[in-house]
């Protein structure tokens, strides 16, 4: 009871403050609710229904869409391709991003030119780049021309039509046949798209790492060199540890981006051709929702995709926290 009067005295002021707070954030809150929170909630809602865009009847199905999903061979194929895509692209683009950033951070002539050149693919339209790569990957395209010019054979069928798994090809070469689909690795076609994806994204990664590099105090390097550390030791003992939060950020972005890949598949290998080896979860959402008239199923895939990305993020965050860098 003794506390009550004080609370009562503060009450109106608190309420007034709270009201003012809500009023101030109202515009942003309304916009976010209408364009972000509501659609997200809608995705979950739709995923529990049998839902086609063009039918008024949308019966509730509970978790049936999810059950169907996990017995759908296409889902397994898409999940497999997407995981290979992410595992192939993220480490390489991160590694190349660091490498380019370190190079572009040095006092080399034409530094601005190189920075711009490396960043250029990231700011170009991915559709335009995809179309250019379609030409380059063709039978008589630039890449095969280059391979022939330096005396190599060219893959047959050409890059984007080749459904053979790259790991499977290596295993076959050492005499191991009958590789399971999960072990076969990304197909040559998917690997070709992965290479293009790495090429387009490493520039953005470079820019982020550049910012990270410039945030590292020069004192550390100075102190290290006084202690007798050579360049290599400085790189592994100072640069990399100091870049840890940036690496976390970049790989998180990388996983989100690669798990959602759609546009490049849509332009370069529609239908996930050849033999569905480029069918990704993002593409399957489109295929089910718009061409299969099963928006409920499409939303269920989107929810699963969301959960996958969320768990990768949480695992990474925990990993980073445990190493004391939060």
């Amino acid at each position: 009871m003794a506390v009550f009067p004080t609370r009562k005295r503060r009450g109106p002021i608190e309420a007034e403050d709270a009201l003012a707070g809500w009023v101030f954030i109202a515009p942003a809150l309304i916009v976010l609710t209408v364009f972000v929170f509501w659609p997200i909630a809608q995705v979950f809602w739709v995923s529990f229904h049998e839902w086609s865009l063009i039918e008024p009847g949308r019966p509730f199905r509970g978790l049936a869409n999810y059950r169907d999903l996990f017995s759908d061979p296409d889902f397994e194929i898409a999940l497999r391709n997407t995981i290979w895509f992410a595992l192939g692209v993220v480490p390489v683009q991160t590694f190349l991003g660091v490498l380019l950033a370190v190079l572009a951070n040095r006092a080399i002539p034409g530094k601005a030119f190189f920075r711009t050149a490396f960043y250029f693919p990231s700011i170009s339209s991915s559709v335009v780049i995809s179309v250019i790569f379609i030409w380059m990957y063709q039978q008589n395209g630039l890449i095969n021309f280059g391979l022939r010019a330096i005396g190599f054979g060219t893959p047959q069928p050409p890059w984007l039509s080749n459904p053979k798994g790259v790991i499977e090809m290596l295993l076959n070469a050492v005499g191991i046949d009958n590789v399971t689909p999960w072990l076969a690795g990304p197909s040559v076609a998917l690997a070709s798209i992965m290479m293009m994806n790495i090429w387009t994204t490493m520039g953005s990664m470079m820019v982020i790492f550049l910012a990270g590099l410039q945030g590292i105090s020069g004192d550390l390097y100075e102190a290290a060199s006084i202690d007798g550390a050579n360049k290599r030791q400085q790189f592994f003992q100072i640069t990399i540890p100091m870049l840890r939060p940036v690496i976390f950020f970049v790989t998180t972005l990388g996983f989100i981006g690669t798990f959602q890949v759609f546009d490049q598949i849509f332009v370069m290998t529609p239908g996930g051709s050849p033999v569905k080896t480029t069918l990704t979860l993002g593409y399957l959402v489109y295929e089910e929702g718009f061409r299969g008239f099963a928006m409920g199923m499409a939303c269920a895939i989107a929810v699963v995709l969301f959960l996958i990305i969320l768990s990768i993020y949480l695992i990474q965050r925990r990993f980073i926290k445990e190493s004391g860098l939060d």
Binding site: L53, E55, P158, S161, P274, V275, F290
Partner: protein, 438 residues
């Protein structure tokens, strides 16, 4: 890569879009001269649409949606001008959907905002009809004296669902053979007319020219050529049973795959072309099986190339070819169905179709216009002849995702990952997983 082009060319979108660059001016004048005299109603009594009864009571505004490139929109504009002159009571607003038509039209329907009249391609017509998205037009047809037999039968079949008709075909194309007559002459052969003759001819062409004579891709909408010719189909006519496991389909798969493994056909990717038509234009093959969109392509990319046209060789069950078509249909939620019908009727009638014909982008769906069309484009007679025996390319509701799966199966077959028996089993599974049976 090529498959993106292959697919867009081989799908029905190309009926409208395939000939983007066909010169407009020359054709416009051709239209002027060819049709100025014919425009009066008495000129062609056989195909003249009777005066619309529904039009007497129809008025107000109608929205119409379609998908056209610059020339497609020009054609539509000309048709709508003709409509406005004939039916001044009805105002039409045209909305062009340049790309991703199916996605856009679905979202418009979901939002309750779809146009009253819109294009429906035969590949998704069954999905729409089975979901009651379209208005049955049988009553309107009876009222205005329009009968289904005014159109080629396979095209009307494409828009018939459980006894009702849901759209009138605006144009179409079958698959025909386009070949290089010089290569045929050097090989000393005539256009083959049976499966056996086709194999012999392709071998002779290969011996004479040193290159694979036929470009044929592992796409289900090309495989159906052989399936229909063998007497097979994906489902029975009522879509109550999947019939892909039949011996006819086995025979078709064996023949289709045999052409490829025996080096008689090659995929466009194998020979470095974007799609089979591109292979022919570049002179990489002496024959392709493609649709009417070959003509604008040839006109545009290789105007001097010599070519000849023929009906496809017949299979064990007789002649057969897939028909790609699109119709005008009325949205079942239309607020002004009377006016929507008058518009649909006009656009698919002799008057409306005449506006489109001189461009040559697609074939008229009305047999009554056959003579006029062949006067303009005599070389296309073999294509029109297929109106008698073509089969509308439709696989049942869910046919589009089935086609994606079926393409993957055929790609897997051509890549040597599976044999014909396994491929057929996988096609059956794909059909069971995707096609909704009645």
């Amino acid at each position: 890569m090529s498959s993106s082009l292959t697919r867009s060319r081989s799908s029905r979108r190309s009926v409208v879009k395939g000939g983007a660059a066909l010169g407009g001016l020359g054709l416009l004048s051709a239209r002027g001269s060819a049709f100025a005299q014919d425009a009066s109603p008495s000129a062609s009594p056989a195909g003249e649409a009777p005066v619309s009864v529904v039009a007497e009571r129809a008025s107000g505004e109608v929205r119409m949606a379609g998908s056209g490139d610059a020339i497609g929109q020009e054609i539509t504009a000309a048709q709508l001008a003709g409509f406005a002159a004939k039916y001044p009571n009805i105002t039409v607003t045209y909305e062009n959907i340049p790309a991703e038509y199916l996605v856009q039209i679905q979202t418009a329907i979901a939002a309750g905002n779809a146009a009253d009249v819109f294009f429906v391609q035969n590949e998704f017509a069954q999905d729409f009809m089975s979901r009651d998205v379209l208005l049955p037009i049988d009553d309107y047809m009876a009222e205005d004296g329009i009968t289904a037999d005014m159109y080629y039968t396979p095209l009307v079949n494409a828009y018939t669902w459980q006894g009702a008709l849901y759209g009138l075909p605006k144009d179409w194309s079958p698959i025909g053979a386009v070949y290089d007559p010089a290569a045929f002459e050097s090989a000393g052969i005539e256009m083959p007319t049976t499966w056996d003759e086709l194999r012999t001819a392709l071998q002779a062409l290969k011996d004479a020219t040193g290159q694979t004579a036929l470009a044929l891709d592992p796409n289900f909408d090309r495989f159906v050529i052989f399936m229909y010719q063998a007497g097979g189909n994906t489902t029975n006519e009522d879509v109550t049973e999947i019939t892909l496991g039949s011996p006819e389909v086995t025979q078709a798969l064996e023949y289709f795959y045999g052409l490829y493994t025996d080096g008689l056909s090659a995929t466009s990717v194998d020979i470095g072309a974007g799609w089979p038509g591109d292979a022919f234009v570049q002179g990489l093959t002496s024959m392709v099986f493609e649709g009417n969109w070959m003509f604008p392509t040839l006109n545009d990319q290789a105007p001097d190339k010599e070519f000849a046209v023929a009906e496809l060789p017949s299979g064990p069950a007789g002649p057969g070819t897939p028909a790609f078509t699109q119709a005008y249909s009325i949205f079942s939620g239309s607020q002004n169905p009377d006016a929507a019908w008058v518009l649909t009727n006009y656009l698919t009638s002799v008057d409306g179709v005449r506006e489109m014909m001189p461009y040559g982008l697609a074939l008229p769906a009305l047999p009554a216009l056959e003579g006029e069309f062949l006067e303009l484009f005599p070389e296309r007679a073999p294509y029109l002849a297929a109106g008698e025996y073509a089969t509308s390319v439709q696989y049942g509701p869910g046919g589009q995702t089935f086609a994606t799966d079926a393409n993957a199966v055929l790609q897997s077959l051509f890549a040597g990952q599976i044999d014909v028996t396994e491929a057929q089993a996988q096609l059956v599974t794909a059909a069971e997983n995707n096609i909704t049976l009645n």
